[in-house]
């Protein structure tokens, strides 16, 4: 069985920029519309170690998932009864974490490096989202922009516990303290969620350089106004962050769902037969 090809159903665009203050860009992005995969990582670490960590994350994830889905499809079940999309994301992110951690402890120049990660894998009219840290996934559906990931950060934990309101969180001096990251430990706790996808949806993966600098309603305005031209839309969001000060690296990946993409079950499969019995 051939790998899935979603390039007809999903359009992707990326834009990544160092911002207006930093001299180097420690973010990495990867978009593979054919595989239905978008990966964004925001690296941390001295010198260029942050770039190494985020670059490893996107590269390893991209190639390993391509390999994982070369002969099997994401909606199939793994031996443990879990959907392969989720199982593969967790497994590959675990191995990516180990690879970054190994590099960090074996080479002094990479000591302490790490990276956040948000990855979206589209399959079977769904999207599986894996994230670690404070890089986010938003969904624009109609007029409404929703944040689908919850940051692994001190601020988010304080908001969750009722200690801070989201408005107060904007005044906090404890920004950018993530509670999970890839590469800092031997294992990583990856959060994976799934969402049903509708044609017309636009998914936005971004580093905190976007959502710290641009208010949600401005992001929504950009996505709503420029959805017809996805590359321009991505550039515009980055430009907004830079116009507002661009204090951090800023990266975005946009994925627009142009058509349904149900998994092609082998004809005569049980589900198809059940569906045909009910005449749907």
């Amino acid at each position: 069985m051939a790998a899935q090809d979603l390039s007809g159903a999903i359009e992707m665009a990326t834009c990544s920029d160092a911002g207006r203050v930093r001299s180097n860009n420690e973010d990495s992005v990867l978009a593979n519309a054919q595989l239905g995969l978008a990966v964004l990582a925001d690296g941390m670490g001295g010198y260029n170690a942050g770039e190494v960590a985020s670059g490893m994350a996107t590269a390893v994830l991209g190639s390993e998932l391509e390999h994982a889905f070369a002969t099997r499809l994401p909606h199939e079940m793994d031996p443990g009864g879990e959907v392969l999309a989720r199982a593969a994301l967790r497994d590959v992110i675990g191995r990516t974490n180990a690879a970054i951690h190994q590099a960090a402890i074996s080479q002094p120049k990479y000591a302490g490096m790490g990276t956040t990660l948000v990855a979206a894998l589209f399959y079977d009219d769904r999207v599986a989202v894996a994230h670690v840290g404070d890089s986010r996934l938003y969904r624009m559906r109609g007029e409404s922009l929703d944040q689908l990931t919850r940051d692994h950060s001190l601020l988010q934990e304080q908001i969750d516990s009722g200690m801070l309101t989201p408005e107060q969180a904007r005044l906090s001096q404890n920004k950018n303290l993530v509670t999970r990251a890839l590469g800092v430990d031997t294992t990583v706790d990856t959060e994976i969620n799934e969402f049903a996808v509708q044609p017309g949806d636009i998914y936005l993966l971004c580093s905190d350089g976007l959502n710290d600098m641009v208010e949600d309603d401005e992001i929504a305005l950009g996505l709503g106004s420029l959805s017809a031209n996805l590359p321009l839309c991505a550039e515009q969001l980055v430009q907004m962050a830079n116009d507002n000060g661009g204090r951090d690296n800023v990266s975005v990946i946009l994925a627009k769902v142009k058509a349904p993409y149900p998994a092609s079950r082998r004809g005569g499969g049980l589900w198809m037969r059940v569906r045909s019995w009910f005449g749907s």
Partner: protein, 246 residues
């Protein structure tokens, strides 16, 4: 590090650094900040400090705790807040707010689990574990990337508000103030352009359609085109004049 400046009748009595997770305020001797005055309860209030943020909590004191004239039960302290306890004033000064360069705030760091557990316990309102004052922050595992020497966000000189006036067709004479950061023009699916309002001006960019909009009769390319006062834009058969409002 944040600190409190204790004063009475505008006379500074002392400075107290907020270097503990819990800094207690009260009349009794065991408090970190002891104020021996009958208007102050034995255990009056506590300041919980989590990394660079501090939270003031009134401990059901008899006479209450006030911040900037408002009675508070729990309050997220901001730089220069003034806490009033009876005749005493405690001014909250957060050095990070004053001195750290903005870029320093942007460096992402990972909190190690042991720190997280403490922060989570505090967030959940649990009493702190009875242990000596451990360093509140584990050494950051990461360093910020180098900051380009004199790179600073340019001070945006705000430009005048722009507007467009339709020159032909059924909407001739109508004007639209360009207050939003993005204003789209044209017909979706046919020809659309967007005007971006940026700190240093207004820019027209082609979004979709085979035809590109024209400015003063010349088609723009794929790049953003800066609009000048009284430029005439034409797209999808509609002519509009861009102008800055006086």
């Amino acid at each position: 590090m944040a600190k409190l400046i204790l004063s009475m009748d505008n006379l500074v009595l002392k400075e107290i650094p907020l270097n503990k997770e819990r800094t207690t305020i009260g009349r009794k001797a065991h408090n970190d900040i002891q104020i021996d005055n009958l208007a102050i309860s034995g255990e009056h209030a506590v300041i919980v400090t989590i990394l660079n943020d501090s939270f003031l909590e009134d401990l059901n004191s008899t006479n209450g705790t006030f911040v900037n004239g408002q009675q508070v039960k729990k309050h997220f302290l901001q730089n220069n807040d003034v806490i009033e306890l009876g005749k005493y004033r405690l001014k909250y000064v957060n050095e990070a707010t004053q001195h750290a360069s903005q870029a320093d705030f942007e460096k992402t760091m990972v909190l190690r689990p042991d720190v997280m557990r403490k922060a989570a316990e505090q967030a959940a309102g649990k009493p702190p574990a009875a242990e000596p004052q451990a360093a509140p922050l584990a050494p950051p595992v990461n360093l910020a990337p180098p900051i380009a020497p004199d790179a600073k966000p340019e001070a945006a000189s705000p430009v005048a508000l722009g507007a467009i006036q339709v020159l032909n067709g059924s909407n001739a004479g109508k004007t639209l103030d360009l207050v939003k950061s993005l204003t789209t023009l044209g017909k979706p699916g046919v020809q659309v352009a967007v005007i971006a309002r940026r700190p240093h001006g207004y820019f027209l960019t082609h979004v979709e359609g085979a035809k590109f909009p024209t400015v003063n009769g010349t088609a723009i390319d794929t790049q953003a085109h800066e609009l000048r006062d009284h430029d005439v834009i034409e797209l999808a058969g509609v002519k509009m004049e861009f102008f800055f409002k006086p």
